[in-house]
């Protein structure tokens, strides 16, 4: 105990599904308050960009909606969100963590009712990053239909700000301030949960697999948007080069994973993700055929049932083989995969209309997180599996290790307990 009985909040870095889950678990189990610092203008993180979850092929918004209700129905104010923000610095001082947060200018305030008048007035456009830049939207936009906080956002790289003002003129609720400035917050927190999540491995590094060179080679995360009703094609799986319905699709597993030149580890989720995508491609287009090229099919535990479900569809082909090279047949836009078929030990060529690279997960921390003088014990791959030394720092979700949504939330729940334990140990009381 260091004498201070003052109730200090918990800082959660990252308001994705792990961070939000950890916050709610803490709030419902104790009297503690939580501050979530999130870099996006909305909470929910990467999974909101998913079309369906495996193994139930259910939408991510269902669970997210329950979590939003848990946030809204419970006592207000105990979870505070600082969105569009990043950590500037963390220091340990007098037994607590002093944190500096930088927040992007908040052009829209809480008066916003999402009435949408501003969007109609806005003359500028931006690339829609929620859809991995596959389409564009207005410079003032609602990040997604379940956006929380529920308000519009202005992209100040696309917006002409005060030289335009068209949105401000039409807004009836005084919700827009185009002269807003960057803000800084200083927080004093008891403990920290790192829930910084992941980003897809940069497929541009996979030169032999044609990403960036051939339009019809996409990544698994793009595939999710291409399938979602709220995505760039309204949920129609059509290929980028000519908007043709895709009948013959190939999935390349371990694209940049289990590979010393790229990610040496297994990202854990890509096998299940590709099986899922193959299943929903087949569901949306019964004439289609999906081939999955893999090294090992990793569907542990009860996920085996999901593998059986996919493999019992005779139009889903599972081929043990490593894809060495992809080229384009320029006349058709189709793709030729050179595969070492490991079962016949022959090199074979395979033609597909679209290729999905099952790229792995790269932890966002440490490269994208400023932690000042604080030394965190990231492992060689950048995961914070456990924190040595600095007490009161914990991790959850993919910041901890490669894992799927279910396991991320399990780890977030465990992380929430660590916070309560730390608090109890420090102050001799819970809360």
């Amino acid at each position: 105990m260091d004498g201070s009985n003052e109730k200090k909040p918990v800082l959660i870095i990252g308001g994705g599904f792990s961070g939000v889950s950890a916050a709610i678990e803490i709030m419902e189990s104790s009297e503690k308050s939580v501050v979530i610092v999130e870099k996006n203008p909305y909470i929910g993180g990467r999974v909101l960009q998913m079309y369906k979850y495996f193994p139930k092929l259910c939408p991510p918004f269902c669970g997210f909606e329950i979590n939003l209700r848990r946030i809204k129905l419970n006592e207000y104010g105990r979870i505070r969100f600082i969105t569009s923000s990043e950590i500037e610095d963390i220091r340990k001082e007098d037994g607590s963590y002093k944190v500096k947060v930088r927040r992007k200018p908040q052009y829209i305030n809480d008066n916003c009712t999402i009435c949408g008048d501003c969007v109609d007035a806005c003359p500028e456009t931006r690339l829609n990053d929620f859809n991995y830049d596959m389409d564009s939207q207005k410079a003032i936009y609602l990040p997604n239909f379940f956006a929380y906080p529920a308000k519009y956002v202005i992209d100040d790289e696309a917006c002409k700000l005060i030289s335009c003002k068209k949105c401000m003129t039409v807004c009836r609720y005084d919700a827009i301030n185009l002269e807003a400035k960057e803000e800084f917050y200083n927080l004093d927190v008891e403990s920290v949960i790192l829930a910084t999540g992941w980003r897809p491995y940069d497929a541009n590094n996979l030169t032999k697999l044609g990403f960036g060179r051939y339009k019809n080679v996409i990544t698994n995360v793009m595939m999710e948007r291409l399938s979602a009703d709220s995505g760039p094609t309204g949920g129609e799986i059509i290929r980028p080069s000519d908007n043709k319905t895709v009948n013959r699709i190939a999935f390349v597993q371990c694209a940049g994973s289990r590979d010393e030149n790229h990610l040496p580890y297994c990202s854990s989720i890509c096998c299940m993700a590709s099986l899922k995508q193959a299943l929903y491609v087949r569901e949306k287009n019964p004439d289609s055929e999906a081939s999955i090229f893999y090294i090992d099919l990793r569907t542990p535990g009860k996920y085996e049932k999901f593998l059986n479900r996919a493999s019992s569809d005779e139009k889903i082909k599972l081929i043990k083989g490593k894809v060495a090279n992809i080229t384009e047949e320029s006349s058709s836009g189709d793709l030729i995969l050179e595969v070492e078929d490991m079962l016949s030990s022959k090199k074979v060529k395979f033609k597909a209309e679209m290729v999905v690279l099952a790229t792995g997960m790269v932890p966002n921390a440490p490269s994208n997180l400023k932690t000042g003088s604080l030394k965190l014990s990231f492992d060689e791959n950048g995961f914070l599996f456990f924190q040595d030394g600095n007490e009161g720092i914990f991790s959850a979700g993919v910041a901890k290790n490669p894992m799927d949504v279910n396991q991320s939330i399990q780890s977030a729940t465990a992380g929430a307990l660590s916070v309560l334990q730390y608090s109890f140990n420090k102050r001799g009381q819970n809360g």
């Binding site: 129905l73 854990s268 009860k302 049932k305 079962l343 279910n406 780890s411 307990l417 309560l420």
Partner: protein, 769 residues
């Protein structure tokens, strides 16, 4: 309490451009005689919200009706003392003006009906009165293995007292006195001795003031509810147990681990045909024994048949796993444990060759490092393929044929020893067909674990799990153990909520929940501890747990009118209701998850919540204005929409400005399972033309967070025929559609299709009655 209703109509967001606000105000004033009735152009702004707050303070308004945007928007603004003020949101924006043509008579009528329904609900509903009782906050942990020890010590570290019950005479579970494990932190490259960490963990539990340990003990029964579970513990006195005693606890963690799959079932892989064919567990035990005896690692492994050092070993993976005839699932740990044991062999018998026969190597995440390390050993040969034959020849050597190898064809191996990587079976209770509480089963499990493993490996059907016993031995109407999700694992069905148990306050942890190794079991135990603490703390405040966490209402049963039909006690998805000999239900409010399935089940309509009841919803239906003339635009369709998925989907349809027929009147329900059949009769006999149910997917991959709510609704609808026949109405007037939250695009079509069906059938003959 005296109703003082304030109605606040927002005219912003183009509501006043689309609707005649004056008419709405007049309805509130003239039809409902409310205390306060005003409109404001920006109700969620400061001025608007201050207006409401001052009316609450000055005029004693206790029923606030906000006719503005969806209940899912601006909750932080329209947020008043939940124990004193009842707030009802009337969704004029997303569900009216955003989906209907503006300045249209039908749109206006839609808004007017929603206002009538909202005020009616507000008048009938009351703020909750939380049930707060003295509760016990300690945690029962069943099982003193890795998961149980981690659960117990972690709960203690958070300041909670623990009762730890272990059936063996020592703590430590399966790894107790075993040899090695893979390291528990990255880079996950090497093996470490088990004893050091495990001994420390056992010491930590045994030395804790907060942990009371009962060894050689099993649970005889658990009675009660969260915060007040009475646990009867049966300690085997002959083995140092304490005899029979009871403890009161607040919540329970089932950390009962796993059993090895019965190797007797592996005779197809040669088990039993030679002493040189053993299971992974038997090899582990052999190493453990030799290490304990020698206290060093300088020993050599000999063939059991001739006691000569082993020169070649084949590991056969997925022995009985990933196999519909045995364990259909992947046991998750066998790849790693076989690689581990391969390293043992190469260490103790350096000249040996090790073959690993596999289908897929599943070393997920950073366990890939472990696999890579083993691949660097040139004495380990990875053989991908399907084992087609295994036999023992006269010399005693084992011949194995592997088909479909990476070299294209089959290969033959000749080895001195074969290790079958048999899978794991959850220790989640044994199947007793006659439903007896068979305490002896726990004892048999010690004497003959193999026998019970086999009996458990049979995937229990829906009806079968209620006959399982031997672990929790709950004194519950619906069975003694946690319901299985699949393959005997009592896991959560929900991707987003791994600890969503079907028995409130009881959480499985570790390999009983799903196949997992020591590293993940330790962390899983921590998560389960958090859930027990959460359940206890919420129960202490009279609040419900997930998915309606924080809900302070609970069902009230008007028992004198009960007909003892038992439907509520049978249909409760969480086993919250018990019953006496006559079949009179007894509610355990702290087990209740507030879904209202019991309310929907009750044929005499005596189950109600303060803010949700048969009468409240029935009155809302009666509050609708039903035009007498049966034209197409006068068709009235009641839509019962699941609050969590279908209602938000309608909101999104509004945000997207999709057009949806103004014939519908949406009533949000906690769950489709809470729909009482009398509402159909109420609606249809008043001249409602059709009823549409929008709720979650059911079946194998059900999405209903109240398990069978949407399925029950469809089942009960089948029983509606009698009502419809009596009213001489067509069965097509009632329909259920399974809808996901992201299906908002489909809503216009779903509604249109139903409206067209009703148009074809024609208007209800009951209009004007």
């Amino acid at each position: 309490m005296d109703n003082k209703v304030g109605v606040y109509i927002c005219s912003g967001c183009d509501i006043s451009k689309s609707l005649n606000i004056e008419k709405l105000l007049n309805i509130a004033k003239n039809e409902y005689k409310v205390e306060v009735c005003i409109s404001h152009e920006f109700l969620c702004g400061k001025e608007g919200s201050d207006l409401i707050k001052s009316d609450i303070a000055d005029k004693g308004i206790n029923k606030v009706v906000i006719a503005a945007c969806s209940m899912r928007a601006k909750q932080d603004i329209f947020n008043y003392d939940i124990l004193k003020i009842y707030t009802e949101r009337v969704n004029l924006r997303e569900h009216v003006i955003w989906i209907s043509p503006s300045n249209n008579e039908n749109t206006q009528r839609l808004a007017e009906d929603y206002l009538r329904m909202g005020i009616t609900k507000a008048k009938k509903a009351e703020p909750p009165e939380p049930l707060i009782e003295e509760i016990n906050k300690s945690i029962l942990v069943i099982g003193g293995g890795v998961s149980g020890l981690n659960a117990a010590t972690n709960a203690a570290m958070a300041g909670y007292n623990v009762v730890l019950v272990e059936k063996e005479s020592h703590l430590g579970g399966f790894p107790y006195s075993k040899y090695k494990k893979w390291e528990t932190n990255p880079p996950f490259e090497k093996n470490v001795l088990i004893s050091k960490d495990l001994d420390e963990l056992i010491q930590k539990a045994e030395n804790s003031d907060r942990i009371k340990i009962y060894k050689s003990s099993v649970i005889k029964s658990i009675f009660g509810q969260p915060g007040m579970f009475d646990v009867a513990i049966n300690g085997n006195e002959a083995e140092g147990g304490n005899g029979e005693l009871t403890e009161r606890v607040g919540a329970v963690i089932e950390a009962t681990g796993w059993k090895p799959y019965n190797p007797a079932n592996l005779s197809y892989l040669g088990y039993g045909s030679s002493p040189d064919i053993l299971t992974n567990v038997e090899l582990e035990e052999l190493y453990s024994k030799l290490y304990l005896e020698s206290k060093n690692e300088l020993f050599t492994i000999n063939r059991p048949s001739n006691h000569k050092p082993v020169g070649s070993v084949a590991f056969i993976l997925c022995a009985g796993s990933r196999d519909e005839n045995h364990l259909p699932y992947c046991s998750t740990v066998c790849c790693m444990s076989s690689l581990k044991e391969a390293a043992y062999i190469r260490n103790t018998n350096p000249n040996s060759k090790v073959f690993i026969i596999y289908r897929d190597i599943r070393t997920t995440g950073e366990y890939e490092n472990y696999y890579k390390k083993m691949q660097q050993d040139d004495g380990i040969f990875m053989v991908k393929g399907e084992l087609s034959d295994i036999s023992v020849d006269k010399s005693g050597s084992i011949n194995i044929k592997v088909d479909k190898t990476l070299f294209g064809g089959s290969i033959d191996l000749n080895v001195e020893m074969a290790v079958l990587a048999a899978g794991i079976v959850p220790n989640s209770g044994d199947f007793t067909p006659n439903g007896e509480v068979a305490l002896t089963i726990g004892e048999q499990a010690v004497a003959n674990p193999v026998q019970n493993a086999a009996s458990c490996a049979v995937p229990a059907g829906e009806d079968d799990f209620s006959k399982k016993s031997g672990i929790l031995n709950l004194i519950y109407r619906q069975g003694k153990e946690l319901p299985d999700l699949v393959y005997g694992f009592p896991d959560s069905n929900f991707v987003c909520f791994p600890y969503e148990s079907r028995r409130t306050g009881i959480y499985p942890a570790g390999s009983v929940r799903q196949p997992m190794d020591v590293v993940f079991s330790a962390d899983d135990a921590k998560g389960a501890v958090l859930k027990t603490i959460q359940c206890i703390e919420l129960a202490a405040k009279g609040k419900g747990v997930h998915p309606r966490a924080g809900d302070m209402t609970y069902p009230f049963i008007d028992l004198p009118r009960c007909t003892q039909c038992r439907r509520c006690t049978v249909e409760c998805p969480f086993g919250a209701l018990d019953e006496n000999d006559k079949g009179t239900p007894k509610l355990n409010p702290k087990r209740c998850r507030r879904c209202g399935v019991c309310m929907g089940a009750c044929p005499v309509r005596i189950i109600s919540f303060k803010n949700y009841s048969v009468d409240i919803i029935g009155s809302m239906i009666k509050a609708m204005n039903i035009p007498e003339e049966g034209t197409d635009e006068n068709l009235r369709i009641v839509v019962f929409a699941c609050e969590n998925d279908s209602y938000p989907a309608l909101d999104i349809a509004g945000i997207k400005r999709l057009n949806i027929s103004s014939n519908i009147r949406v009533i949000p329900v906690r769950c489709l399972g809470s729909i009482n059949n009398v509402w159909y009769a109420d609606a249809l006999s008043r001249g409602i033309d059709g009823i549409l149910l929008l709720g979650c997917r059911y079946g194998d991959d059900y999405q209903c967070h109240f398990i069978k709510g949407s399925e029950l609704a469809s089942y009960r609808m089948a029983n509606l025929k009698e009502t419809l026949d009596r009213l001489v109405l067509e069965s097509e007037r009632v329909k259920q559609v399974q809808l996901e939250i992201s299906d908002y695009q489909k809503l216009p079509e779903i509604v249109e299709e139903f409206v067209n069906t009703i148009k074809k059938i024609g208007p209800s003959p009951y209009k004007g009655f």
